[in-house]
């Protein structure tokens, strides 16, 4: 029977068990559950938001149904917590065990595989089928926190080089500006460009699932694996669906995480026949325009001078009452996003 591991003694045992199976114990999770035989643990697993992790089973018990029992309980807890889609990272050689449980593989490469439960990628693509255009298409994935003249420049330049440009806006709500606002400002700021189609990324690109390190300040070693999986997923599943053969990106002089991501794109995308086009960033007063520059100005309470950094649609929003709460939040804390 699967039971929650709640007491600190249980958690210490779980930690020792997880580490004995060669996994790293992470102290962030919403649920930690285990299966006992007699008084000793034979299986442990955890859920952190919509990600299942630290799944470990005693080697002598691996041929039975313990994985199914653990995952059943974690999915029950995850669903009860309101998550529609659940994800798991595992070693590529274990992907099959999860597929047996009706997980579907999103992406796999040398060191890691990412699977989801519920078939949501297929649903996401189907929901966007009306946006599919024939031709030689391009894609750009941006957070747009908020939409600046730099983004606008990159989109305009990219759109001139392809039949249709897909502008994917990062869905994850971990930025100063909420997704709905970011998406709306992108739509307003690109409305006059007829071959630009705007859509959200859902869980499937630069999200807390595919690329959690994007939302942290310092990329660690695991970040590299995540970036490569994120890009493999894009190249194998998303790009072909939209006939995308080129991905556009601005050169990154400022941020180490984004620069590392650009390097990963250079390594991964060409393997799948996708060209990476790096465009020089637009500069104002000798420095590239960036959304973080806008946020620094907002943090200092400087609304004047913003018109050189953001287009009118974004400026109107920043000057409106609607953005007051966001501006105040930025003023009180300025992290990476």
């Amino acid at each position: 029977m699967v039971t929650g591991l709640l007491s600190s003694a249980d958690r210490r045992k779980a930690r020792a068990f997880i580490e004995a199976q060669g996994l790293r114990f992470e102290s962030t999770f919403d649920d930690l559950v285990g299966i006992h035989e007699g008084r000793s643990l034979v299986a442990v697993g955890a859920r952190d938001g919509n990600v299942l992790k630290m799944l470990a089973i005693e080697p002598s018990h691996q041929s039975g149904g313990l994985l199914g029992e653990l995952v059943t309980e974690l999915i029950r807890l995850g669903t009860a917590a309101g998550h529609e889609a659940l994800f798991v990272y595992t070693k590529p050689e274990h992907a099959g065990s999860f597929e047996q449980l009706n997980f579907s593989l999103l992406a796999s490469h040398g060191r890691a595989a990412l699977l989801e439960y519920g078939g949501h990628l297929t649903r996401y693509l189907e929901a966007n089928r009306h946006l599919v255009r024939r031709g030689s298409n391009g894609a750009v994935i941006m957070n747009c926190n908020p939409f600046t003249r730099g983004h606008r420049y990159l989109v305009e330049e990219s759109a001139q080089r392809v039949d249709t440009l897909y502008l994917f806006v990062v869905r994850e709500d971990r930025s100063s500006f909420p997704f709905e606002v970011r998406l709306r400002l992108v739509r307003e700021g690109t409305r006059d460009l007829p071959n630009v189609l705007v859509l959200g990324t859902s869980y499937y690109a630069v999200s807390a699932i595919t690329f959690p390190a994007y939302f942290l300040k310092q990329p660690d070693q695991a970040a590299e694996i995540q970036m490569e999986l994120d890009l493999t997923l894009f190249a194998q599943r998303i790009a072909p669906f939209f006939h995308v053969t080129r991905r556009f990106v601005g050169t990154e002089p400022l941020c180490a995480t984004t620069r590392a991501y650009n390097q990963a794109m250079r390594r991964v995308l060409p393997r799948f026949g996708i060209d990476l086009v790096e465009l020089e960033r637009k500069e104002i007063a000798g420095e590239p325009i960036s959304a973080s520059r806008v946020r620094v100005a907002l943090a200092a309470g400087e609304l004047s001078g913003l018109e050189t950094l953001v287009p009118e649609s974004t400026l109107a929003y920043l000057r409106s009452d609607e953005s007051r709460a966001v501006r105040e939040r930025i003023r009180s804390s300025e992290g990476r996003h």
Binding site: G65, G68, E69, V71, T72, I75, R76, T79, Q100, L101, N102, Y117, G118, G119
Partner: protein, 87 residues
């Protein structure tokens, strides 16, 4: 019977299935199964029959099956529906 809230029933064990139901304006049935190619139509028939018996006309029904037999499908779906209908 009306689906008032999200509910689920079942397990991921072999020969069992998990059923997820939630409120929705229309009735939709999604099936994932390790034996989908061979038996999807029979699973769908069974589910449709239970929904009909219970008078369910709206809701999203998602089934994740690992080769369950008819009576298991019926029992799991009925349980999920009862949980979803509870006040």
């Amino acid at each position: 019977m009306t689906i008032r809230k999200k509910a689920q029933a079942g397990t991921m064990q072999s020969s069992d299935l998990m059923v997820f139901v939630e409120p929705a304006p229309e009735l939709t049935i999604e099936i994932e199964s390790t034996v989908k190619l061979q038996f999807e139509h029979l699973i769908r028939q069974r589910i449709a029959a239970v929904l009909h018996e219970q008078g369910v006309t709206a809701g999203k029904i998602r089934v994740s099956d690992r080769g369950a037999l008819d009576y298991a499908i019926q029992a799991r779906l009925e349980t999920a529906l009862q949980r979803a209908a509870a006040e």
